[in-house]
Amino acid sequence: MYNFEFEQPSTVAEAVAALADEDAQALGGGQTLIPTLKQRLASPSKLVSLAGIAEMKGVSIADGVLTIGGGATHAEVAADACAPLAALAANIGDPAVRNRGTIGGSLANNDPAACYPSAMLALNATIVTNAREIAADDYFQGMFETALDEGEIITGVRINVPDGANYQKFEQPASRFALVGVFVAKTAEGVRVGVTGASEEGAFRWTEAEAALNGSFSADAVPAAPSADGMISDLHGTAAYRAHLVAVLTKRAVAAIG
């Protein structure tokens, strides 16, 4: 690690001000950022911890709307969110990761194998920041790329509780992140299918499957695997294998919703 300044503000406004410094960086649960710092792969001049900001905490459901603070940990989401999202959070990493890592940190990082992005896309979530509200469809912009501006903080996420939803994660054997993860949701706007882990472009919506499932919501209606072009190929799976898993997991999610 290189030396850095450390601040722990108690309001979003203070955090935004602290992040205005050049090379300042937000610190959520540190589950991605701290290992990066230890390997000296990043050298922020200042870390601004979001952990002391009360207004970014909490998970609540009211009038069919699920609100999750940007600083809510995976463990808190697992305990208090609606079932499909809670199940997703409960299977991220290990207890240490879940008790520290936050949904805001995960969404800001947008790892191509992270679980939440698929859910956000499928649930048509709204990403709330200190400056604006961003629809999930506009938020994810490719591997590790998001719509966030420099210094912008995810303060929360808002989701209309779906009629039915399910997340299927096929674990990469080493990291146990998603080799492929598929989140299927029946929303007011129709069926939405979010896919993570598979594409070189990051999380995406499998619109072909959505169209088929809007016609008939059954595992049999799920189309053949999407094209392997642009899918990730690495030690753990070829592009063709990942494309195949997208279809298999979509079927399983649909069958689980029933």
């Binding site: 390997q39 096929f170 054997p173 080493a174 030690l235 753990h236 799976g237 294998y241 898993l245 298999v248």
Partner: protein, 787 residues
């Protein structure tokens, strides 16, 4: 009735109390007053010429004590290789210098290029970033087959090629082999990969060098499985120090699996630097460093051919293997694919003709050396996979084919230079069939199929050779170290005992098991006995722990020393009881004159040894301390049969191990619970190799699986509960305890069982698949099913 103490009892492991409560004393827990820290600048390219290395800016950085480069070690020796293999033409192996710090050339990612010693670790890292390196990249030699080709880029310019040796072994001359294969009724051929692994002990390596200016003595604290061997190699071959001036301490060590046998550059560096810097120097490996600096394991490419006659008897076996040495020869690297692999190619079978050919190659990768099983897993995997394939080709039951070819008469001289002293392979297979409930498999398969899953059963046998010995024979084969062990039994005046052993415990439970033996022999409580290990300043010269040798070799030395103690104690008792020592019996810690009521207890005798007021001083020295060195007459030969049941999800290709049974013949057993644990851990590692673990380089020599994000370690939920049976016991005929060793069996015996089960499952689903290389990942299974 199970015993509650002594040999055969299962007292809980006493060392676990300190390990589980955070009170272990690991090398990293040791801090020497005034110590400095070293950070190694490691190569991030696989192959390059070092044109220049400018440390001037780094030297001016805050806290820097001294910076070392290859120039500083140009005059000292390289890290020696402990085994000289003679090739098929009678030529010695090619043996390049293995420098402490790269000199002139970089030969693998992770090689030390410079060492920065500073007041703090962060300062050392900061300064290392200021070192300016001028490199010219060279093409990396990664693939073994291309490394072997004429005209390939050479890893070492001063060698004739990348071939370390081309070795042929066995009784099968070329003509005889040709004839046997030509006349065979059936020949089965298999090409397979024994995947490269990273040992990954829980504790990364640590070294602390200390130098005492008042007496010029050095102490090296290090994470080692064999401190005396490290001292000898480092003093005699690398640094040229007198051994009596160097103490090597390996305290609690958090797992080794072979990777902590070898003498590493960091150990010699810290020892040397302590004097050069005038301060103790400490290095603690990060996990990332461990991936690129701990010796790797396995990495064989093998073609194996099995010839059978019309009655399905094995008539000849031939293997051709490429074995990876990495960039340099690590301590035991050259022996692993040869004398620890070729000698095991008979397996449990009476194949009359065997020929083994191994070509070991230099590549621009981390050195490869022994990893749990060392050579024997590679042999077992090849043999047991080809037999399984033969059974499937011939449409015969794989167990029946094995049974038909078992060695049944002992001693048995194999065509590959070993003499198996005892064994009962049919008996052990009977135990396996029961433990695995093989007769219930069909019903379990039907259940899996009803869920849409494929289910397979894989069975295999293994034999291994433990307690490598005797020293004169292995010396003739090229070993440059003795393979005896030593123990000193020191009885204190009040009767408690310290046993100083050359073996080293790094997870095996010696502190519990060894006292059980001495307690049994004397008849006193185990709590009166402790063992001391891991410190050349305290224990006699021993060879350490690897190759499942501790109880078979060091335990035998301990028995011999204890016998001497008992003989002397009887003389003292005889004196006190006014009888002849031939009439003295020792039972339950009491000496009795045979046939009388006259007796005296252990404590009175030991006290007399040290307070010899009433003592035959003219005939007997006072005191009660004895040492024995023990050089075994032969290897020991644990053998067993393993069965694995897997389920495969045909949609994703994911394999899950549903059941695993092991029947082992370890001869006599000291502590059955510890043996169970050793087998459990070994099977876990074997399942890891079969399904998960893979150390992969890209074509530029970059390690792709360089962290736990990509290197898949087995976890608790990857393995089932095991059924382990070691009631099949044919005691070793040549050591005093009749023990064989159990440390590696699980890792040796399990990979073929898993892969055999996978193939069985796939074939049951109508897939014409005869082999999938390890690790049998979901992606590979799916590709095979859809290829």
């Amino acid at each position: 009735m199970p015993k509650d103490s002594g040999i055969g009892a299962s007292p809980k492991r006493r060392e676990d109390v300190r390990f589980l409560t955070g009170n272990g004393n690991y090398t990293d827990d040791i801090n020497v007053h005034g110590q400095a820290y070293v950070h190694f600048l490691r190569a991030d390219v696989a192959h390059a010429t070092i044109n220049g290395l400018d440390t001037s800016a780094a030297e001016a950085m805050p806290g820097v004590v001294k910076i070392f480069t290859g120039d500083d070690f140009a005059e000292v020796g390289g890290i020696p290789c402990g085994w000289g293999v003679t090739d098929r033409h009678g030529e010695p192996q090619q043996e390049p210098k293995h420098p402490i710090i790269a000199h002139g050339k970089i030969r693998h990612v992770g090689e030390i290029v410079a060492a920065v010693v500073a007041d703090s670790l962060e300062q050392a890292r900061d300064a290392a970033e200021a070192i300016e390196l001028d490199l010219s990249d060279l093409p990396a030699v990664v693939n073994m087959k291309s490394a072997a080709e004429d005209g390939a880029t050479k890893v070492h310019d001063d060698l004739t090629s990348n071939v370390c040796y081309d070795w042929v072994f066995g009784n099968g001359e070329d003509d005889a082999m040709e004839a046997a294969f030509a006349s065979a009724a059936h020949v089965t051929t298999l090409e397979l990969v024994n995947n490269r692994l990273v040992a990954n002990p829980m504790e990364p390596r640590v070294a602390i060098g200390e130098h005492n200016k008042s007496n010029d003595e050095y102490t090296l604290y290090t994470t080692s499985q064999n401190p005396h061997v490290i001292r000898l190699l480092m003093c005699a071959f690398v640094l040229g120090l007198p051994e009596h001036k160097v103490r090597v301490v390996a305290p609690d060590v958090g797992g080794g699996f072979g990777s902590k046998i070898f003498h590493y550059a960091e150990e010699a560096f810290c020892t040397h630097a302590a004097k050069a810097c005038g301060r103790a120097v400490k290095w603690s490996s990060t996990r990332s460093e461990a991936f690129i600096s701990d010796a790797h394991g396995r990495d064989h490419l093998t073609t194996i051919d099995l010839a059978l006659d019309a009655d399905n008897n094995f008539t000849a076996l031939r293997t051709r293997t490429h074995a990876n040495m990495g960039a340099y020869l690590s301590t035991f690297s050259t022996s692993v694919p040869t004398y620890l692999h070729g000698t095991l190619m008979a397996g449990n079978y009476k194949t009359p003709l065997i020929q083994v050919n191994v070509k070991s190659l230099f590549t621009n990768t981390v050195p490869v050396d022994a990893y749990r099983g060392a050579g024997r897993p590679e042999a077992t995997y090849s043999i047991e996979r080809v037999i399984d394939k033969a059974a499937r080709e011939l449409g015969v039951d794989p167990i029946a084919l094995r049974r038909q070819n078992f060695v049944t008469e002992f001693p048995y001289e194999t065509p590959v230079a070993l003499t198996y002293d005892t064994g009962d392979y049919h008996g052990t297979m009977d135990k396996l069939e029961a433990a695995a409930d093989i007769s219930g498999f069909a019903a379990r398969r039907a259940e899996s199929e009803a869920k849409g899953k494929l289910r397979g059963l894989g069975v295999n046998c293994y034999i291994e050779a433990c307690g490598i010995a005797p020293s004169n024979v292995v010396g003739m084969l090229g070993a440059r170290a003795g393979l005896y062990d030593a123990a000193t039994v020191r009885v204190n005046a009040t009767g408690s005992i310290s046993v100083f052993v050359g073996a080293h415990s790094h997870g095996q439970g010696h502190e519990t098991a060894f006292p059980q033996v001495v307690a049994e022999m004397i008849g006193i409580d185990e709590s009166m006995i402790d063992i001391v290990h891991g410190d050349t300043g305290r224990v006699p010269f021993g060879m350490g722990t690897y190759g499942s040798r501790s109880i078979a070799v060091c335990g035998s030395a301990m028995v011999r020393a204890t016998e001497k103690i008992i003989a002397k104690a009887k003389k003292i008792a005889a004196h006190l009881l006014e009888a002849s020592d031939a009439d003295i019996e020792l039972k339950d810690g009491v000496f009795t004159v045979a046939g009388t009521e006259k007796s005296i207890d252990w404590g009175s005798v030991t006290l007399t040894a040290y307070v010899p007021a009433n003592y035959p001083l003219d005939e007997l020295e006072p005191g009660l301390e004895e040492t024995a060195f023990y050089d075994p007459a032969n290897f020991t030969y644990p053998a067993g049969a393993y069965a694995c049941e897997v389920e495969i999800d045909p949609e994703t290709g994911k394999v899950t191990v549903e059941r695993f049974a092991a029947a082992d013949d370890f001869g006599n057993i000291i502590n059955p619970m510890i043996v169970d644990g050793q087998v459990h851990g070994g099977i876990g590692q074997g399942i890891g190799q079969a399904l998960l673990e893979n150390c992969v380089y890209d074509e530029d020599g970059q390690l792709l699986s360089a962290s736990y994000m990509d290197y898949a370690m087995p976890r608790a939920d990857d393995v089932p509960f095991y059924a382990v049976d070691h009631s099949s016991q044919t005691p070793c005929t040549h050591n005093p305890l009749g023990v064989k060793g159990c440390g590696e069996a699980g890792a040796i015996g399990s990979p073929p069982a898993v892969v055999n089960a996978v193939i069985d499952a796939l074939q049951s689903g109508g897939h014409d698949i005869t082999h999938i290389d390890m690790p049998v990942s979901p992606s590979r299974v799916w590709a095979a099913m859809n290829g």
